[in-house]
């Protein structure tokens, strides 16, 4: 009996590596600490009522961003491990199979469990406020999206300590990801972690598309809408068309592994190349899905901190829509070298280069907006300015890669690694940081320390260039990606060493940011944002107190112009808006909290875990739980309530520190 248990456990838990034992212990300690603290301070009820079951888009957004930061830590540790291994030739700090696991989990976590939730967090917090809405279109679905993401992310992360991590790269190309070559459970964790969170992402895409199309404040025509919601709209369109392809593709891979099907196997008539086509039909749009909202953020910030209308508003809108459409036509540039022939390669090379045009338009528009503006350089603006040169270099090297014959040379080299980190870190991550700094006071009601913020900015940037510029050279010198080690004779080590130092600087930068947040929370009283409009902003979110009350707008705004809030401030009519008189107030219709989303996501988690280990005794109840949750939700007609006028009055009075007549 005991022997049986021991045998099971040794296969079930990952063993043998001190790093992993360390992780086991820290996971247990942290969990115990959380449970203890919550119990000791009697916070369970509070947590359940205020957060876990909340359908308030702002709280959901905060939870997304918190999760994204945790995942950035995990993905960043992976990155540092790899860079440590590559710093010196011949290092054996990571074994080859472990290295494969590390770059795979790093890529997956960074893209799907860090960038995506960070982006969704910003969608959630800002979009309804900017379009003058009280909520998103489907609040309960929104909460479900978050919990599905969370369940998927946790399932994926569990593979580190239970069963073993995936190691077939972030896109899991077959045949290596097939059962025959990859018999462990790591690949199944990959499939279900991404599948569950992917369904959540798809629902978020639908939710925000409808929110933006249907819930804008009276008077806000589409062409009077700020650019961030525009960028969200174009990103959501891409989500709606691409994520179903991911869902379908992962389902096929799952059937290959689980049911012995032959979609992508080498035998039985399967075709691995089909997987590569399908996964990139999702994967390429995916990178635009995450970068478009960053473009939206930069647009908002540039115009706020230059005190000017955005230059070329309409061209910005069209550029984003064109990018989101073109992003579907270029996927094959990821496998120029796989024998598609000259005609096909030419088509995809040209369509790829075309994307540079609308992107270039945007960069020029940002520059023209700054030109002759009254610029103030607070941290959000600093990130925006830092982004531009970084993105220009990344974009240029991208155009180089899109030249099909050249790609035969750069393909799968460190040149590529440098290029995509440059656009992803310089474009996406810098953009989200800028957005986080910009909207932080709106989220929490206080501003963050600028001084620490600037240090973090410089550490990120210097670290970034030190880390990735040498990699372009390394790529040209012949260093391929996904190599675990190299010899002294190659002459690669000085550049690699510099690169690792750069990575460490970015690690420090991240710590500085965490410290900045802790510092901000500690001293929040000193930095309270009492005006609700700390940057002298232009759009509707700045017209309400910080943090926003849970119904957002006591009276729905009437929009007349683009940058409506700014125009109202210019005309001096905004003061009247602040004087909310009682007769204008009406009871506000709001959704009730719901426990269904978190329970349903929990059921998905169990079902996914059961699929990974082929435990039908767990999968079947898990899926049944999902079905029961759906039915229970369908039978629940008691989903909303009204906030009485008296309560609105009191809330507004407290937030605006005025009395309302």
């Amino acid at each position: 009996m005991f022997d049986q248990i021991k045998e099971f456990a040794s296969g079930f838990f990952v063993t043998g590596d001190p790093l992993i034992y360390g992780a086991d212990v820290s996971i247990l300690l942290v969990t115990a600490a959380i449970i203890f603290t919550l119990t000791y301070f009697k916070k369970w009820r509070w947590l359940w009522r205020e957060w876990l079951t909340s359908v308030d888009h702002k709280k959901i957004g905060i939870m997304y961003i918190l999760a994204a930061f945790l995942m950035m830590f995990r993905g960043g540790v992976d990155a540092l491990l790899m860079r440590a291994q590559l710093a010196i030739p011949g290092a054996d700090f990571l074994q080859p199979d472990h290295y494969n696991e590390v770059f795979t989990t790093h890529g997956v976590i960074m893209i799907l469990f860090m960038a995506m939730p960070f982006m969704f967090g910003l969608f959630n917090i800002i979009v309804p406020l900017q379009i003058g809405a009280r909520d998103v279109a489907y609040p309960i679905l929104n909460s479900l999206s978050f919990w599905l993401f969370f369940a998927g992310a946790m399932l994926f992360n569990l593979s580190f300590v239970i069963g073993g991590s995936p190691d077939a790269g972030w896109l899991a190309y077959p045949p290596y990801s097939e059962l025959m070559y990859n018999p462990g459970v790591g690949q199944d964790f990959y499939i279900w972690g991404i599948q569950i969170s992917g369904i959540g992402s798809l629902m978020t895409g639908i939710n925000f598309l409808v929110t933006i199309l249907k819930m804008r404040a009276p008077g806000m025509k589409l062409m009077k809408m700020p650019l961030f919601p525009w960028s969200v709209l174009s990103s959501c369109i891409a989500i709606i068309f691409s994520f179903p392809i991911l869902t379908a593709t992962l389902a096929l891979l799952f059937l290959d592994r689980y049911a012995g099907a032959h979609f992508f196997t080498l035998d039985g008539g399967g075709n691995p190349m089909m997987y590569i086509n399908l996964i990139w039909m999702w994967g390429h749009p995916e990178v635009y899905i995450i970068v478009l909202p960053a473009f939206g953020i930069f647009s908002e910030i540039v115009s706020t901190f230059s005190r000017k209308k955005l230059f070329g508003y309409q061209s910005m809108v069209y550029a984003m829509i064109i990018i989101s459409v073109l992003s579907f036509l270029v996927w094959a540039h990821h496998f120029f070298t796989m024998g598609s022939g000259a005609g096909v390669n030419t088509f995809f090379a040209l369509s790829t280069m075309l994307i540079a045009i609308p992107t270039g338009v945007k960069v020029f528009n940002w520059l023209f907006t700054m030109f002759r503006g009254r610029i103030t350089v607070k941290t959000p603006m600093l990130w925006t300015i830092g982004f531009i040169p970084c993105f220009i270099v990344g974009g240029l090297t991208g155009v180089l890669l899109s030249v099909a014959p050249a790609d035969f040379q750069f393909h799968n080299s460190y040149f590529l690694i440098a290029h995509f980190h440059q656009v992803i870190i310089g474009g996406v991550i810098f953009g989200y940081f800028a957005g986080l700094y910009y909207w932080w006071p709106k989220m929490f009601g206080f501003t963050l320390n600028e001084h620490i913020g600037k240090w973090a900015f410089w550490f990120w940037n210097i670290g970034f260039y030190a880390c990735f510029m040498p990699q372009y050279v390394l790529g040209l010198m012949g260093m391929t990606r996904r190599v675990v080690s190299y010899g002294w004779d190659k002459g690669w080590w000085p550049l690699n060493f510099v690169s690792t130092i750069g990575a460490a600087l970015m690690g420090i930068a991240f710590v500085l940011q965490v410290w900045q947040i802790i510092h901000g929370v500690k001293h929040y009283r000193k930095n309270l944002d009492t005006t609700g409009d700390p940057w002298d902003g232009r759009t509707l979110e700045w017209s309400i107190p910080s943090p926003a009350p849970h119904y957002n707008f006591a009276v729905l705004p009437q929009v007349e112009e683009l940058d409506d809030w700014w125009e109202k401030k210019q005309r001096g009519v905004h003061k009247q808006l602040n004087n909310i008189a009682e007769e204008k107030l009406e009871p506000i219709h709001m959704p009730k909290n719901s426990g269904m989303p978190i329970i349903m996501a929990g059921c998905w988690f169990l079902a996914g875990f059961g699929f990974v280990f082929h435990w039908l005794w767990l999968t079947i109840p898990g899926l049944a739980g999902v079905a029961i949750c759906m039915l229970a939700h369908s039978f629940n007609y008691d989903t909303d309530y009204y906030i009485p006028v008296k309560e609105i009055k009191e809330t507004e009075a407290a937030l605006r520190k005025v009395t309302i007549s």
């Binding site: 489907y138 249907k214 179903p244 096929l252 008539g269 399967g270 009871p587 008691d638």
Partner: protein, 206 residues
């Protein structure tokens, strides 16, 4: 519902359309978009099927496996169920609750027979050794047709749940929207089936 919120609800109903969007209409709109995503999923499976349909790996091919008569019967049943689903919506628009539930029941029964026939077809094929792991063609076949069948099954459960709600709540704006949405779903599945019928069965046998 307590009196004060009841009052608020009435108040809300009198001014609906001005201060915020019509919730029920918005939900229907969202469902249309959901259907587009479902089209993408089916599209992916169709594309896979078309790429792999000749890869029979020396095993049975479409002409050996499909019984067109059975499939034509299935198609006929599903088309009829789409029609009865339309009758249900008509009854609803006339405010006839009993007729609405009745037509939904007929729709569900036809759908259930369709599923029964499909299970029978699959069982038969598996019995002859034509399993999902036999060849890429069969993997693609089971996945495509099975996904459609899964959708129909989910639709059935949902329809039953809706009939229960209708019998207790009657025809309200909320149940009305739910009926509209499921009928959309049902017609959608019908359209998908016509593609399955053409691409998989007709083109397979000829």
């Amino acid at each position: 519902m307590n009196p004060s919120s009841l009052k608020a609800k009435q108040l809300h109903q009198t001014d609906s359309g001005h201060s915020h969007p019509d919730m029920e209409e918005m939900r229907t709109f969202g469902f249309w978009i959901y259907l587009m995503t479902d089209i993408m999923i089916f599209g992916t499976f169709f594309a896979t099927y078309i790429v792999l349909r000749h890869n029979t790996n020396g095993g049975p091919g479409p002409a050996d496996l499909f019984d067109l008569n059975g499939v034509i019967l299935s198609t006929f049943l599903l088309l009829t169920s789409s029609y009865t689903c339309g009758l249900a919506v008509l009854a609803m628009n006339k405010g006839k609750k009993q007729a609405l539930i009745g037509w939904l029941a007929v729709t569900a029964i036809l759908g259930a027979i369709f599923i029964g026939l499909e299970i029978n077809e699959f069982a038969h094929m598996v019995h002859e050794g034509a399993t999902i792991s036999r060849s890429a063609f069969l993997s693609a076949f089971y996945t495509l047709v099975g996904t459609h069948g899964l959708h129909v099954t989910i639709g059935l459960v949902w329809m039953i749940a809706l009939m229960i709600q209708l019998s207790s709540k009657g025809i309200t704006p909320v149940t009305k929207r739910k009926v509209n949405v499921i009928s959309l779903f049902w017609h959608f599945l019908d359209v998908v089936w016509i593609f399955v019928f053409t691409v998989v069965y007709l083109m397979g046998v000829n």
